[in-house]
């Protein structure tokens, strides 16, 4: 059941029922969280509606930009040294592997 504020916002935007469905469920669709039947219905509408296609492009670009934030950061060697020392203190037999990893 759609919330009242969401319903009122949709009315305000003056969208068709199909456009409103895309607007409401596009993220679910892009995240593959809706049923295949619902996905097919959204796809069918998007294929025929330039406005919804542009909105899909916009959200896809946003999600790509987000995914691009995943940096190949490595744990600093100072952290590895400290963690190795603490694991050694716990009796961990592989503590030295924490330090060795940095040389790979």
């Amino acid at each position: 059941m759609m919330s009242a504020p969401a319903r009122s916002k949709l009315q305000e935007l003056g969208l068709s029922a199909s456009c409103a469905e895309v607007l409401t469920h596009l993220w679910d669709y892009l995240d593959e969280q809706i049923t295949p039947t619902s996905a097919e219905r959204l796809q069918a509408h998007i294929a025929t509606c330039a406005q919804c296609r542009q909105y899909e492009d916009y959200q896809e670009c946003f999600l790509r930009a987000m995914a691009g934030l995943k940096q190949e950061l490595s744990a600093p060697s100072s952290l590895r040294e400290r963690l190795a020392a603490r694991l050694k203190g716990q009796g961990c037999g592989c503590w030295d592997k924490v330090r060795r990893e940095q040389q790979l």
Binding site: A6, F62, C94, V98
Partner: protein, 200 residues
């Protein structure tokens, strides 16, 4: 080799097996856990503390890890709990709202962007610095949801396990986080003078 463990003990076969499993399954994720911790704490020194505590807890609790399951997810769960405990006073008390409301509100942000001519800003500009700033400003628990799903590419189900909440809550938090980020980026676009530039 067992010689690394120090001279004080003779290691049992089960200790050796545990350490071998910990080395094989947990240690390869150190960089990933560090990256996740840094995105939560936003401070390198705090991230160091969180990562150390995460791996020490993981080592002590290794008997609770189920072999064959996703160790990265398990470590992320511990990491987030360590982080939240270290920020106890900031523990979120956010009301859950309908995710659809945020999805629709994001549509309004887009409509405004389109009207003002910067709806293709994500395609035209490298927004990574602005996105990172916006993400840093995003409040918990929305930040965790966005980082886990959109940046670290976890499924809703995995993110729900890491955050210890139902899948529906992940969805609500994720949608709110995305909407807030897009609102913030709309402000950035306006500040950059993108008004009317796209010619849509």
């Amino acid at each position: 080799m067992t010689a690394d463990a120090g001279p004080q003990e003779v290691r049992s076969a089960s200790d050796v097996a545990r350490d071998a499993a910990f080395e094989r399954d947990a240690l390869p994720w150190l960089d990933d856990v560090y990256r996740f911790a840094l995105s939560l704490t936003r401070e390198e020194s705090d991230a160091d503390d969180v990562v150390q505590e995460t791996f020490l807890r993981a080592y002590r609790s290794w008997h609770t890890f189920i072999p064959g399951t996703d160790c990265r997810r398990w470590l992320f769960t511990i990491c987030r709990n360590v982080f939240l405990r270290s920020r106890e006073r900031q523990r979120p008390t956010v009301d859950l709202e309908d995710g659809e409301q945020d999805a629709v509100a994001a549509g309004s942000v887009y409509a405004a962007a389109r009207e003002k001519g910067y709806d293709d800003i994500y395609a035209r500009l490298d927004l990574a610095p602005a996105l990172r700033d916006a993400l840093d400003d995003l409040a918990e628990p929305f930040r965790s949801a966005v980082i886990l799903v959109d940046v670290e590419d976890l499924s809703y189900e995995s993110a729900a396990e890491v955050m210890g909440v139902p899948i529906g809550t992940v969805r609500s938090r994720l949608f709110r986080g995305r909407r807030l980020l897009q609102e913030k980026l709309a402000t950035v676009a306006e500040d950059l003078g993108f008004l009317g530039a796209a010619g849509v």
